[in-house]
Amino acid sequence: MSDLINIPDGLVSKTDVFRGEVTLNVTRENVIALLTHLRDEQKFDMLTDETCVDYHPREPRFGILYQLYSVSRNTRVRVKMMLSEHDAVAPSATGLWKNANWMEREVYDLFGIHYEGHPDMRRILLPNDYVGHPLRKEIPVAVEENQFSFNRERVDAGKIYVTE
């Protein structure tokens, strides 16, 4: 599968193949050039999904994933870019695929990644006055502690939920 995708030298830092799934690891500087190449030269005309993974406490922490699909070749490829927590800014892919607009807003909403060149960078799912980005790993999964027999008194006393 990987030999079907011929990438110019220097664009991709590492290529992973796992059970026929191709992942192209790329730096932030090269990502738009690579995506443009894949779309225009390799017929990957459809952006199936653009999303983010938080690898906390690993650094660089955020992995931005682009899932591409070629309708004419019936082939999929994944492009992965790592971002540091202190510099969580990504170039926007809205210039290449229109549907990247809402997906990037979702990533911004839930992970707090800013997209440079995005035409409308605001929250999409959560209320506009929401504080924080809840899919980051430092945000606790639960908002209220579940009451069991071992912590009945503590929950009744209204102690604040502590995660760590």
Binding site: P127, A142, V143
Partner: protein, 160 residues
Amino acid sequence: MGVEQKLGDMGVVTTTLEKAVGWARSNAVWPLLFGLACCAIEMMSTEAPRYDMSRFGMELMRASPRQSDLMIVAGRVSRKMAPVLRNLYDQMPEPKWVIAMGDCASCGGVFNNYAIVQGVDEIVPVDVYIAGCPPRPETLIDGIIKLHEKIKAEPLSKWQ
């Protein structure tokens, strides 16, 4: 004591205004046509002929909050829906009641996370909580009967 002794047996039932109004209110509660999740399916089933909520004078679900006096919160309330729900509640004329139907509306249920309001009593006052995920129509009817008892027992001093 009173009119029936003076005038003899006229077939007239005497009562207090409080009881009469409570009886009238409790037997014609118009619920708001408002469902948020799977509990709404059970609520519709309660309305439908098999369980038949018109036995309690509740067959008339109003699509406008200005014509209804009971809000059945049927389902989980997301944080984005919360201001909308409060707005609907504020638009309902007094007297008004709220039933938190199901675990999600009562306490957040299985959705113990950032997106869901942990119990609708954070935003509106709740009269009856109904447990279940989702509660069966019989459970909802039981809750409605409990609410009827509450409405009938409402004293004059609480009228608004």
